[in-house]
């Protein structure tokens, strides 16, 4: 779920913008300029994947993907996510323009954490990769939901109820995403293992 315009206090919206811009600046500066077009093209596939709805009982959910993006892109995930969110806001109004900073942090930070954890824990077998992939995918959603709840709670006591409900509403998404994430990682491990753990930017040892 993306935060719409007008929900956050202006100071929080502006503050998260500044943090996001700083993060972007840092990413752009540390990355190899030549890799940027590649990250952009990969971002479009994440964008497309996040638009696909999966059936869940009488309703359907779509994936948030912070965990998977983190696992696949590592440190460059933040950049990829900001680009994707900007276009989502621009094209579909998924997430408000003034809340873009907050939304970027909500998805980008979990991606970085998940990317780090996946690389640390994934091990060398297909099973451990799939399991860790599944865990970080679920964790990504959980962290995103927590950050969302935190942002909502900055609006004051009136928003506590919404924050709690948003948190609960993310539980089914978390389960679905953990399962799909595990299947994606296990598929990639079987078919194209070099994609996992090989960042687009050359590996810094």
């Amino acid at each position: 779920m993306h935060i719409a315009d007008g929900v956050l206090p202006t100071a929080v919206a502006a503050g998260s913008y500044i943090v996001t811009l700083a993060g972007l600046g840092l990413s752009l500066r540390t990355l190899d300029q030549r890799e940027l077009p590649k990250i952009a093209v990969v971002s479009s596939s994440f964008f497309v994947a996040s638009l696909i709805h999966l059936p869940l009982g009488p309703t359907s959910v779509h994936l948030l993907l912070p965990g998977l993006v983190g696992a696949l892109l590592g440190p460059t995930a933040f950049l990829s996510i900001v680009v994707g969110l900007f276009l989502q806001s621009l094209l579909f109004q998924f997430g408000g323009l003034t809340a873009l900073g907050a939304n970027s942090l909500m998805m980008g930070l979990p991606a970085l954490v998940c990317g780090f954890l996946y690389r640390r824990l994934r091990g060398t077998s297909k099973k451990s990769n799939a399991l860790v992939g599944s865990l970080v995918s679920g964790l990504g959603v959980l962290l995103a939901a927590l950050i969302l709840a935190f942002f909502l709670a900055t609006g004051g006591e009136s928003f506590m109820g919404v924050a709690k409900i948003a948190l609960v509403a993310h539980i089914p998404v978390m389960v679905v995403e953990a399962l799909v994430g595990g299947f994606v990682i296990s598929f990639l491990y079987q078919v194209k293992p070099e994609l996992l753990g090989v960042t687009l930017a050359r590996e810094n040892v």
Partner: protein
């Protein structure tokens, strides 16, 4: 819950119904209008193909409105400030005024309302949740009016919460309406060039353009893959097998996108790419652009001043 100090009004079922239908009226109207538009465009059948041989400002409408002729950088700067001003409003009356102003902006562009309405429809879920939850869960202050809904004695409906929620709804809708005049009255490359002129890194601009271009390519690839699943009898259901299949599908999508990045990059290199896109000719900033900027900032300032100095309480 203790709400002794509050002003309690007990509602019956009919009143509750009418209250909620009032709250959801804006969404309902937007949805109906959008559906009507959609119906219109399909029944009209063959839409005429726009003339692609001259530079189009935006594929959804060529126009000569004040937004279309406004230099993108000043336009974006002005409207971005306006958007932040709008989200800073606290009172419903002024938020409604802002919503009205933004609707006027859309009307001034002379463009179809289909896309602005679709934007409002996209907001429906989030805002609908706010409208229901915030008034029911807001802490009740002393001297405040609460409504007790039939069957929900534990969850008083706070009018202050309703005011807050509706203010947010108006603000979100206002900014959503402002998106079209701000970002869709120039072509995407021009709009992004506007951001670059404002100081956004040019490399980010190019990433967004590239990402936008390949969304369409991957969407087509995903659509084809889903189609080839469907003709082999696949129907998505709530079960593990569906998630496994979709997981493979996503995995394939990612692999193909990684493979494509390499090919696109080679194609770019082979045509002399050296790390940056060749610059477009920039639109010159005229005095008129600045006049428009000042005008809009003034309107925004009036909204904010009114909001803080003249807070009209509707209920």
């Amino acid at each position: 819950m203790n709400f002794d100090q509050a002003h309690v009004i007990v509602l019956n079922g009919v009143q509750t119904m009418s209250l909620f239908s009032c709250l959801f009226l804006p969404f309902f109207c937007a949805l109906v209008a959008w559906l009507l538009k959609a119906e219109e465009s399909t029944s009209a059948g063959q839409k005429t193909e726009p003339d692609w041989s001259s530079p189009v400002l935006d594929r959804h409408g060529q126009g000569s409105s004040l937004f279309h002729t406004w230099a993108p950088s000043i336009k974006i700067a002005t409207l971005l400030i306006a958007a932040f001003v709008i989200v800073s409003l606290h009172t419903l009356a002024w938020a409604l005024t802002a919503l009205f102003c933004c609707a006027l902006c859309v009307e001034l562009t002379g463009m179809s309302w289909t896309r602005p309405l679709r934007r409002l429809a996209a907001l429906g879920g989030f805002l609908g949740m706010l409208v229901v939850i915030v008034p029911l869960t807001s802490p009740v202050q002393s001297g405040e009016t609460v409504l007790v809904l039939p069957g929900l004695p534990e969850w008083p409906y706070s009018l202050a919460g309703a005011h807050l929620a509706l203010t947010i709804v108006c603000k979100a809708m206002a900014v959503a309406l402002l998106m079209e005049p701000m970002l869709a009255t120039s072509s995407l490359p021009q709009t992004l060039q506007g951001f670059t002129d404002l100081g956004l890194p040019a490399s980010l601009n190019q990433m967004i353009l590239l990402c936008h271009r390949y969304i369409f390519v991957f969407q087509e690839e995903m659509r084809r893959m889903q189609r080839s699943m469907r003709v082999r009898g696949f129907v998505p259901r709530t079960n593990i097998a569906t998630l496994r299949t979709m997981g493979s599908g996503f995995g394939m999508l990612f692999i193909r996108s990684f493979e494509r990045t390499e090919r696109v990059y080679e194609a770019m290199l082979s045509r002399g790419y050296q790390g940056s896109f060749p610059a477009e000719v920039r639109q010159k900033i005229t005095n008129m652009d600045l006049v428009k900027g000042v005008l809009f900032i003034m309107i925004a300032a009036i909204l904010l001043a009114g909001d803080r100095l003249l807070p009209l309480i509707l209920f």
